[in-house]
């Protein structure tokens, strides 16, 4: 059985930052990444990020990925990276089992940072399994990684930041975005993103949702409708649209299955997107030396994920006896950055959610 002090599950912004900070502290780690490339969701984000300089604001996601990847590669003697590798089992005795191609690998470790991110929520509507119905993430992968258009006439369901941003990217790719549907009475994401779409002629229909998809072998049309204040469709409000792709972006939920699997104490917190682990101020779960960073403990922006990664990497290293020369200064700085990113009105729900999971 392979032995390593620290296993980091997930090679996205949180995982990469954690590995870097652990390495800076002198602790070696193994990053497990399911995709064939590290960088997480950043590798398909062609837009500029918000935040401050410390979290690479105004840099495009794809370029932030490059920065983080380079940081990790600089420590190639201390950070081992396994891509195309899925964690299949996580056991209480801190054995992590992996699958790479058809190879099954067992790793015994002392500490684990779970940085698995989030997955997209799905919607139940008629014929929701027709080909041509995508999650926003899949659309981004198709377009921005593989250069393939999902369709020519698209409707976006969901006006959170992802829905708005992906709609904009669809337009950039030359796709006709008919409209963005939002079930709630107000736009979910940043209004700057909404304004950007609106000026390009895309209607954002609040209090609207998808009622039904129509098509024989693939998506041909959709029926949308207006919702009342109980989120029920108002009779007679139906409208038929001809589309060849439908993009669903109704939120993310933390990919916390591995935490459930290993038996950490969990709680469902709507403000954080779903089932999340209870954590202490250093992101340690109820199981000693099992840490979390990034969306897996509450859906936020990549900026916070990066800082949480740094923080957990720093703390884990210390717990295992590797103390960063600037530990105190960095610790305070990461805490301050997280506070700053969350202190505005958009961070309110998040702050309340995080309070609920503090143990």
């Amino acid at each position: 059985m392979k032995k390593i002090d620290l296993v980091i599950i997930g090679g996205g912004p949180a995982g990469l930052s954690a590995a870097k900070m652990a390495a800076e502290s002198g602790l070696s780690s193994l990053i497990i990444e399911r995709n064939f490339k590290i960088g997480g969701q950043l590798v398909k984000q062609t837009h500029m990020f918000f935040g401050s300089e410390k979290q690479y604001a105004k840099t495009r996601g794809i370029d932030i990925a490059k920065i983080l990847v380079n940081d990790v590669l600089k420590y190639s003697d201390m950070i081992e990276i396994m891509t195309g590798t899925t964690v299949v089992g996580l056991y209480k005795d801190k054995v992590v089992t992996l699958l790479k191609d058809e190879k099954y690998i067992k790793v015994k470790t002392k500490a684990i940072i779970i940085a698995t991110g989030a997955s997209e929520k799905v919607l139940a509507f008629e014929k929701n399994d027709l080909p041509g119905i995508y999650g926003a993430g899949a659309v981004q992968t198709l377009m921005n990684v593989h250069g393939v258009l999902p369709g020519h006439n698209v409707v976006m369901v969901g006006s959170g930041n992802i829905g708005l941003i992906v709609s904009y990217q669809l337009i950039q790719a030359g796709v006709n975005v008919l409209c963005v549907l939002e079930a709630s009475s107000e736009i979910g994401g940043y209004k700057v993103h909404a304004s950007k779409l609106k000026r390009l002629g895309v209607d954002i229909k609040t209090s609207h949702s998808i009622k039904k998809a129509i098509g024989k072998d693939y998506l041909e049309r959709i029926i949308i409708g207006k919702l009342d204040d109980k989120w029920e469709f108002i009779e007679g409000s139906e409208e038929e649209l001809i589309v060849d792709a439908l993009c669903i972006s109704v939120g993310l939920s933390p990919l916390s299955n591995l935490l459930s699997m290993i038996g950490t104490e969990m709680k469902y917190v709507s403000y954080l997107g779903g089932l999340v682990p209870l954590i202490d101020e250093n992101y340690e779960t109820s199981i000693e030396n099992v840490f979390v960073a990034g969306d897996v403990c509450g859906v936020e922006e990549a900026s916070s994920a990066i800082v949480e990664g740094y923080l957990t990497g720093l703390v884990v290293a210390k717990k295992l006896g590797y103390i960063h020369p600037n530990y105190d200064k960095l610790y305070l700085d990461f805490k301050a950055q997280l506070h700053n990113l969350r202190s505005g009105p958009f961070g309110e729900k998040l702050r309340r959610g995080l309070e609920e999971i503090m143990r």
Partner: protein
């Protein structure tokens, strides 16, 4: 709340006991379970139904239970499928000692009307062609053994009992049983107090704890036994393949998945039901050795569940002389699922003071009062 009888545990044994009692006209039966429907050992079991045992008691219980399962779908008037498929159990011997033992077993089984036969390895391969014959020395086969869906059959019993008026309370843990002057007077749960003087202990892995509540020391203990299931594929294997010496049972269920399990000789006693990487290793090694082609199947899930083991690996279905009104259905040693129809029938007869369908002397808890009890069941994985 008042009850004629309180049954602790709504696993397959509990629902069967409730059903049998209600069918005989007993009113005010209340069943408590601290979990959801088949959330304990029943829902975690290997789903096999076997009559090929090494002790007379187990053979009889199994055979009579199979007779019920054959008519259960209609008898319980269940709208869904209980998936009772009689495609046999192929019991594999791998040692000379087992060869001899199995011949004896089959003789016993035949004498009790169980249609098992002894097979050469070649004959066994006709039934399960993908057997690794290099390690098979002989086999026995009983065509009327088979598979049953633990979830739906428990559901079937539950619905039938409910129709007969039995009240079920799930997620309702029994906290204490109050005894006064050597008589049960009350059962206390998280939300209820039930006045009753009869309690049935069908608490599976937790039956010892229920016994402790009334000061009855039941000589059973619990142990985690693990199982895995693979992705579904086209049907390639009819019967359950089982080997005691190799420590494996493995069956393709109607849904297409393979379910397989084995026991861990180093497993500590207790209530842990965690899945372990170690089990996966051992299970894979054993299964691929015995049934090489299934090495290509993907394991998609693994879990553990509690065996409640009795000293002779045979169930305890009895009253308790020291405490009138306290009844036991426990210590099934991993086989409570397949014996459930008889568990329900016999215990209902015992409770109502009827003549039992089969002799239950050897199922009584008192058999353990002598240190050298008659039979020990070796045919256990």
């Amino acid at each position: 709340m008042k009850a004629n009888i309180v049954i602790v545990g709504a696993g397959i044994s509990g629902v069967s006991i409730a059903y049998n009692l209600a069918k005989k006209g007993v009113k005010d039966i209340v069943v408590f379970d601290d979990n959801y429907l088949s959330g304990g050992a029943t829902g975690r079991c290997g789903a096999g139904i076997r009559q090929q045992w090494g002790t007379k008691n187990n053979c009889i219980l199994a055979k009579k239970s199979v007779e019920f399962f054959e008519i259960a779908q209609e008898e319980l008037q269940y709208p869904r499928d209980i998936e009772f498929k009689q495609e046999g159990y192929l019991v594999i011997a791998t040692t000379k000692e087992e060869d001899l033992q199995f011949v004896k077993n089959v003789k016993l089984q035949n004498s009790l009307g169980i249609p098992a036969v002894v097979l050469t390895p070649k004959e066994a391969a006709k039934i399960v062609p993908h057997l690794n014959l290099d390690i098979v020395t002989s086999a026995t086969f009983c065509p009327t053994d088979g598979h049953l869906n633990p979830f739906t059959v428990t559901d079937a019993y539950y619905l039938a009992a409910k129709r007969l008026g039995v009240k079920f309370f799930y997620q309702e843990k029994v906290l204490n049983i109050i005894v006064k002057d050597n008589k049960i007077i009350k059962v206390i749960t998280e939300n209820y107090e039930v006045i009753t003087n009869k309690v049935v202990n069908a608490a599976g892995g937790y039956s010892k704890e229920i016994g402790d509540m009334v000061g009855i020391d039941i000589p059973v203990y619990s142990e985690n036994h693990e199982i895995l299931v693979t992705e579904p594929i086209e049907k390639i294997q009819g019967p359950m393949v089982i080997s005691f010496s190799l420590n494996i049972y493995c069956q393709q269920v109607p849904h297409g998945s393979f379910i397989m399990g084995r026991s861990d000789p180093n497993m500590p006693q207790g209530y842990n039901v965690d899945a372990s990487w170690h089990f996966l290793d051992e299970m894979a090694k054993t299964a691929v050795n015995l049934l090489p082609p299934i090495g290509d199947l993907r394991v998609i899930r693994q879990w553990g569940g509690l065996y409640n083991l009795s000293p002779d690996r045979q169930p305890i279905i009895s009253d308790v002389k020291e405490l009138p009104g306290f009844y036991l259905a426990c210590g099934f040693s991993g086989h409570g699922f397949m014996f459930a129809p008889m568990t329900g029938l016999l215990l209902s007869e015992i409770i109502l003071g009827e003549k039992t369908t089969v002799d239950t002397t050897d199922l009584h808890i008192d058999r353990f009062k002598n240190s050298d009890f008659k039979d020990y069941e070796k045919s256990v994985v």
